[in-house]
Amino acid sequence: MISPGQVEEWIREVGERPESAVEIIRHISERLAALTENNERLLVENISLRNREKVEEYKSRIANLEYQLELLKRQLGGLPDIDASPDGLNLLIYDSNGRILNIPLDFDNVLQGEVFARLAVKSFVNGETPRLLVTDSNEELLCIFDSGRAVTLPVSKLGQTEMDALSWESAVLIEPQGGEELVTILPIAKMALANYCLQVSRRGYVKKVRESFLETYVANGNVGKGVVSPVDQTCEMILCDEADLLVMVSYEGSVGITPVSSLPSTIHEVFRQKPSDYVITAFIKGDRSAFMAVTQNGMIFNREAAWLAQGEDGKTKNRTILSKARLESGLRIVGADTVNNDDRAITLTSDGSLRLSNVAEMLRAGALFDRESTLNLLSITTFSN
């Protein structure tokens, strides 16, 4: 602190010891330089405050912290009002309108291969195809919209729908805002165990996000959007590790296999397709024994998992499931995954029926429906017990 009195004292010092003048000037100029630098930093901060950038930054930080807190609460199982059975599996049926049905799976009362529930057919408006997801009842979900908005909520908060009253009217609605669509739901309770999260778009563009950045990425609204073409849309979000293989399957039966280690962290076209084609599902190969793909008429294609070998030099290897003749006959892939024999699958067909099937039986039969059946498969999901 410099007061006029002190300046007078410094002058007196110089009067007594003239050599002190140089030292005084040196110290003051050093201080002045430091204060100027500090002032510049404060000016920049002030500009940020005036532009509300800081407000946005802090809002984003708060949102991120709230999100992490919520996650921790769920993962620690600390909430007293969780009413779902702790170890049960739940089937989620969701659509792009943000409607989610939550059905607890009670295997004691579900017969293999039989219809265990029916969703009202009139529910499928405008050709909208619901998606299926089997998850733990104490799972945490990240619901991702194509606008970049993401909503987290636990399965236990979804409310449960009775199997005999299955209709969208009883669904939980995460209301889309401004024409956005719910593109996928990612279970994230075990997110901390993964190293990366992959975002795969329908046009085969992939972005690799390090797990530690994901929370910021979500908080900043960069999940869900972030595709190159405006007509493109996020298809899947996948948690994975460096050594995993990413498998993408298209509507017209193309399969792209890429090592995660070779993926860049910027958005990159990894799986090039014909203009008429698009990715319908993507997953990690894992240590499953077989690869299974199912067409809309219930035809099942079965390959050994080794068929999903990666290309050379980390490049994407493309393979085909459907022959040209089958494509011309109108056959299209509805779902695909890697499976083990003891896995199970749930299918949703055009009449709204939900069936539970053993994967081993499906692979052995090679088809879901009888030859005469007019049913179409809308959606399929597989899961382990």
């Binding site: 602190m1 002190q6 004292e9 410094w10 010092e13 007594e16 010891r17 002190s20 030292e23 201080r31």
Partner: protein
Amino acid sequence: MVLNVGLDFGTSNSGVGIYDGRQVKLLPIDRQNILPEVVKTILYITRDDRHLIGQEAVALYYRHNVNRPRHYVKKWAGELEFTGAEMYYVRDIFVYEDELKPGRLLQYLKTALRSGDYPGTQIFERYYALTDLITAYFKVLKERAEVILGEPIHGVTLGRPVIFSTDSEKERTAENTLLEAAYSAGFEKVEFEYEPVAAALYYETLLDRPQNALIFDFGGGTLDITIMRLGNPSERHIYTNAGIGVAGGDFDRAIIQTRLLPYFGKGQYGLEPEIVELIHAVSDWSALPDWSSPKIHATLERTIRSGIAPGRIQSLKSLVFNDLAFSFYNVVESAKISLSNKGVTVIRLQDIDLDLWQLYTRYQFEKDIQSYRTQIEDVLFSAIGNSGLEPEEIDIVVKTGGSSSIPTFSDMLIDLFGAERVKTSDVFNSVTAGLAIKAYEMG
């Protein structure tokens, strides 16, 4: 043969020496110090009851404390009984204790000895009387000396200021406390010697003819003056001893009070009395840690929110609650020392929410301690008068102790005796060396 050592228990620094009849050996007690023969009079007591001294204590204190988290818990401390004409009741007393506090640093133990109104302190689960604290320091010092010497130490000659206190009761209490601490630390034989006399004994080893010497022993806690005849051990004669409780620590406080308190809110209007009291406590190093309570924290926060000098009060909060007091006192002391060699220095302390920068000149320093200079001049003249000698009859003036290097006091001696008669003895070690000689003579 029994081993006796000389121990200089100084306000800022201490030392241990041994004399073999031919030469003095000063023991490298603190190998982490720039001068290993000098050990800071600092004691750090950890929560697990470890006792550390010198640089080791300082290093661990910094590692443990600076910017550490705190967690206060309310603890029952006792009860107070109220008895009136028609009423009687008992009230519980609670204190807030920082349960994350890893240790307690203690400095200026010798000043506490002099003041006579410091009974001791509670450190974690144990109450340490002043004797216990000094005992703890002596024990570590003795252990280290025995490791260096390779054999147990039997006796000690302890230095003491000429005057602990002008109050005879306090004077007696101080000496008894020091004596008890030395015995408790394991010394079997203890004797005292005045510190300036010890410095004179060391200087005597350099003389080839008898001289009248004035020893000007000016350290961190006291100024001690002895005028005595030296040169022939059989004809030693003390003309007079004098002293005053003014020294380096007082100068540090003067700098803080005059120059640095405005950084922490001094002179600002509208502050609560409690905050004003805290600002003035900044110059009292030993008191500052006791202010770090949740109540004060809340008061400081409230003051900052109210907008009364928020930056300065934030600095005050940082100083108290980030355990920066020790660093603060060190930078002030360093600035003072540097002014012995040059005319200008900067007192600088930068930490979280604290940016202290003060250009400080020797002119300002001398102005700030002018009243002390007058007191010291009076003591010096009084000592010369009491000795029965004229200034011209004093052959040599020997300066020792850290504060004796301050130019204004050197100039004072030179003005009185002439530059050719004013000599500087080993600033930090001459008392220790003299005590070692005395210990040898004790046998």
